[in-house]
Amino acid sequence: METIVAEINNLKKSFGNNDVLKDISLKIKKGENLVVLGKSGSGKSVLIKCLVGLIEPDEGKVVLLGENIPELKIEKLNLLRKKVGFLFQSAALYDSMTVRENLEFPLRDLKSKPKKEIDQLVEEALRNVGLEDVIDKMPSELSGGMRKRVGLARTLILKPEIILYDEPTTGLDPITSKEISNLILDIQKKYNTASIIITHDMECARITANRMVILKNGTLITEGTFKELSESKDEWIHSFFK
């Protein structure tokens, strides 16, 4: 039987009069890459921010690794967040810290671990993204692609069970975008993580998706594999694949 790691039921979220998410229901299985496709401003980022409790939903259930997020107390939520990785659109590296310090930051609670072991974890995470030589650099010295990779390494350091990618290839050239997409695939294979990938980069979706959903005006309008959706008769859906 397939394990469900995240489940969203009848999720609603509005900002003022703007209904961003209207009755969204979704399930993600262990080891699955789910791509959420949609136009800019369709509520994709709001959806994954609701999943980690960064945005509180107005209605509905958001169950992550068996826990209903809106009902969790902050202490429990923080413990649960250690099992979830989040790659931000801008990578969100801490400007005032070196790459090493950025990667060590999520490990701060593991005070019992010796320094040597933490160093090994940092080096392993950077090796996974092919960037061992930037360990002592500042984020401002890195290119856009390198920042995304370091962001991904920071996400991986706690060996999360679910990774949420918020437009991982936005602002990158096609070659670097492909490298990041392949990296997402490698991580899925190596760690058997479940991932939700928010994107409108069709090449990224083609490489990474096991399953895709399309969000339009706050509602999920369809679901299927990349091949199924690319052959859709619906003009609007088909326009993504042109």
Partner: protein, 276 residues
Amino acid sequence: MSIEIKVKDKVNKEAENNFSENSFVKPLKDFFEEMTLLTKFAFRFFKEVVKPPYEFNEFVKQSYLIGYKSFPLVAITGLIMGLVLTIQSRPTLAQFGAESWLPAMVAVSIVREIGPVITALIFAGKVGSGIGAELASMKVTEQIDAMEVSGINPFKYLVVTRIISATFMLPILVVAANAISLYGAYIGVNIEGNVSFLLFFSQVFEKLSFTDVFPAIIKTFFFGFAVALISCYKGYNSNKGTEGVGKAANSAVVFSSLLIFILDMVAVQLTSLFSK
């Protein structure tokens, strides 16, 4: 005809609503909303400050950045302050034949009022704008969200440490600024006169009493707290992208400076009340 009157009435009513909304009610409403949020922010600080885990390393780092890094600016300002005050006061005192009172008068002015307030204003300009801009840019670039999803409390890590550091660093800076300022006054006295270092400082300490020094130092803890609280609040709650970063830095300095004067006024009233 009746349609015309109805349209005119509607236009007048809308104009009236807009007038009251824009000119009086809205700014007042915004002000009270802002005060409510600031009070909530302050309460959150007092709640989080006592709750473990304590971010001691970050507190030390912020104390270094806020205190040690501000020292050169505060020192130069202090020296000039003492020097200028002495040079400016001399002619007036000379008119009354009270030149010998110069060290004592300058010392009381510096220690009681000018030292704490000017240093706090310099501190608000340097540290307040820095905190406001740094936290706002962290917010815009999702670094605060990244901290939150790592399971780390960003309020405790970023806000609590900065507020505590500023609260304890400003009094130290004020004491240093006062000392340097008095040395500046000693130089100022000796531009036109010949007063020994020992005589100058014995006159200074003879006239300074506990009620001059103690309340002046106590109020600087409140100045430091107010500067950091306002700056953290403005930065942490900033929005509107990069425009918000500039606004946060600007309003952090403006509101901190204003609050310094308000707190100073309250402190002076309380001091005179208790020293009677």
